[in-house]
Symmetry: C2
Subunit: 462 residues, 2 copies
């Protein structure tokens, strides 16, 4: 093994070693079980410190590419080839996190057409500021103390009521407060999955989840997402080959296609879940953008094998970090235990603020206004895209996202360049596919499309 | 296998099955590899649903006690015996979480002599309320938007300055904001440890960590904590038998003994870390309770193999969930990636509030007042305990905790009963030992000891 190490680069030696060994494994180590050079040997042949080599090997072990056998040395992991060639590639984690970093690091004046949240100038400050001041003034416990491990009963009861119009019958005891949608997913992934397990995801689907599953070292299989939900035919075919523990579904205004699950598909998915005994995570974090409720998996299933996720990050505030899980009763205790061991509790202050706004009705009114705005914006965006001859995957009935591609046959990289010229940032379409294949499809956030730069960009790639 | 199932109990059948199989494994399955009854067989012989059996097996697999071999059935895991007899017992997780639940669920008027936070009436609201109102009024991004993955640079720079008097030289780029001390630990444990790895902890030590390590399925070995830090002789002996990846040390006002690491022990620990190549987590969440800084591991080591943890939960607010990690440079990117995948970001609002209080000096003044109060309280508590002939493990120089035991030869259960009679709640001493052995030693929080009920209880068990 001869790695290319540059002692004068700003990248630490350990990271260079890691990248080099990773590349070597991809090129040579496909079989797994192959022995890697000893720490001493690598250090000597490359004139680097033993600690740098140890560091590099540790990171590769942590990434699941290398196995350490005590007293014997380091070997290419059996599943390294699998990790490299499977749906989520070995550097799937980096691709996802780089994508996210890109969004967070973009110049604040750049038009974030590809991002997953509402524009800052859409957010209405008054009601939230009022609630924050009220909690700060009236609740000593709210500003000082840990919350309870499961979250305040008062808030969980209010959420229970909010689930009723969706026909989801959850006891407050089945609701666990979390620090937002990603935290909910993380708790569930840790509780339900083992390394090596198979998980079905929707493809295109939520890319941060792909990275999270990669971190947990599970096998990720993409099920195509159609206009009415997951592709049932393909799902049935995949179930003859794989035994998933879990299927993750974003029911309403799916990220990124904007499509919504129909009752027939929901019913069929649950039948298959029964037959093949897998659990379902129903991610419904865009629920409050919906005017008239449609069928939820959790409603049909009665929270028996469905874990239902909700959040206040998309509608109210991404800063406060408040979300929840409605879980099958028998899993609640373990879920709360894991939450407690990993974070003690969520923010009592943030929970009190949300409680206040649910109680005084300001949250309801705020989401009504956002819904109306989003509907208008969606209509405008669809017209704009159609007029510019973009292909629309499916026409969303609401929400933030439309999944579309330009008529021009242009590479994804060229598309990003063009966007950059118009001071527009995109989320690369490939991030949304479980196999990270390059694609000209893009997730567009309609809330940003009234900006003239959006129009210019969209018309430029016609 | 004949399990005792009560169909009329309120405990779900799946949980009863899980407990029954767990007990059976403890009693019969010590060797590992032993085959367990099939799902169908257990369901038929016990007249329960197959789903309940599946649920029970899944939970046992998740707990590491059972292995599933696809197409072949369920077997006692090879390490089930290890898990059962090792330092952290199979139900270590439950013991820890039950202990925590106990603290959170205690009647709010009960005197929480065993708890790990300041009394509500010690908390000063004005400065915090003021900062909260200021952020709510002035910062739209603060109330609405995600924070950056690593946390605001402004706050990280302020923390960098706060570390300087401790002689810890960290660049702001090495500091990662988290949702508090437990969240910091969780991120590090996930990044650095694999199932089966060995971790050294201090014993007695921080019990929530023992549960977290159990969750990660690592082997936990306790190193006795003495008045000047970890027992170096014992550490050296243990290092001849085990190869730990990590050693967790609570440097200042250790939880639960209140003792503080001396420079000589710190130096020796780092020499051994170098020699045996393990990393160190230096938990310094009580730092702001200290009048005059003492030697930190991170200061001697220059953040090379030490990960340093700080928090605002103990001094300012447990509700806001703000903590940080100062990490070796080469680990920062991966740490932030894991944070991002599992939670997107921490609360920008809470980060802004802490920033405000660090900038306007109110945090410094507040901690000065708390320090003085705690010193007085510690002196009073030590006098009270000595007068009542309690044995004091070591006299803390400050902080919240004293580790003491009553002169009366009384069982831990009887001790809790007596406390209950005086309306006092305790944290059982055994929770603080890695092996959970019963002990009459107790962690007492001196901030609660001016209450007459504390005096009554302490004098009652004389």
């Amino acid at each position: 093994m001869k790695l290319d190490i540059n002692r004068h680069a700003t990248t630490p030696i350990a990271q260079q070693l890691e990248a080099g060994i990773r590349a070597w494994i991809t090129a040579h180590g496909a079989g797994g079980g192959r022995r890697l050079p000893s720490i001493r040997r690598l250090a000597t042949t490359h004139h680097v410190s033993r600690n740098a080599v140890i560091e590099a090997y540790e990171r590769l072990v942590a990434a699941g590419l290398v196995r350490s056998r005590p007293g014997s040395g380091f070997y290419v992991a059996d599943n390294a080839a699998g990790l490299a060639t499977q749906s989520v590639t070995t550097n799937g984690l980096e691709e996802v996190t780089n994508g996210l970093w890109g969004l967070f690091n973009a110049n604040e004046h750049t038009l974030k057409l590809g991002c997953g949240w509402l524009p800052s100038d859409w957010r209405e400050g008054d009601d939230l500021t009022h609630a924050i001041r009220q909690v700060a003034r009236n609740s000593r416990s709210g500003i000082f103390e840990y919350s309870t491990p499961q979250g305040p009963l008062e808030l969980r009861s209010l959420i229970q009521e909010r689930l009723r119009p969706l026909a989801i019958t959850a006891d407050a005891q089945q609701i666990v407060m979390t620090g937002g949608g990603s935290h909910s997913l993380d708790l569930l992934v840790r509780m339900l999955l083992e390394p090596g397990d198979v998980v079905f995801v929707e493809s295109p689907g939520y890319y941060n989840l792909f990275g999270l599953l990669h971190l947990q070292r599970v096998r990720v299989i993409g099920v195509p997402r159609l206009a009415d939900g997951p592709d049932i035919e393909r799902l049935e075919a995949l179930l003859t080959q794989h035994r998933p523990k879990l299927f993750y579904i974003n029911s309403v205004f799916q990220n990124p296609t904007g499509s919504t699950l129909t009752p027939a598909v929901a019913h069929r998915v649950l039948q298959l879940a029964e037959q093949y005994n897998f659990k379902i995570i129903e991610d419904d974090i865009y629920a409050d953008f919906q005017h008239t409720p449609t069928t939820r998996l959790a409603a049909l299933d009665g929270l028996s094998r469905v874990f239902y996720l909700g959040s206040f990050s998309k509608s109210l505030s991404s800063s406060l970090r408040v979300g929840f899980i409605a879980a099958p009763s028998c899993w609640v205790q373990r879920l709360v235990d894991i939450k407690m061991l990993t974070s003690i509790s969520a923010s009592r202050f943030a929970e009190h603020v949300v409680t206040t706004m649910l109680q005084n009705g300001s949250y309801r009114k705020l989401t009504e206004r956002v819904r109306t705005k989003l509907s208008n914006q969606m209509a405008m965006a669809l017209t704009l895209l159609k007029d510019a001859d973009w292909e629309i995957y499916t026409e969303p009935a609401g929400g933030m996202f439309v999944w579309a591609r330009p008529p021009l046959d242009v590479s994804p990289d060229r598309l990003s360049e063009l966007a950059h010229q118009w001071d527009v940032s995109l989320s690369p379409g490939k991030l949304f596919f479980a196999d990270h294949q390059p694609t000209p499809w893009l997730r567009l956030n309609v809330a940003y499309m009234q900006d003239p730069r959006a129009k210019s960009f969209i018309e430029a790639v016609r």
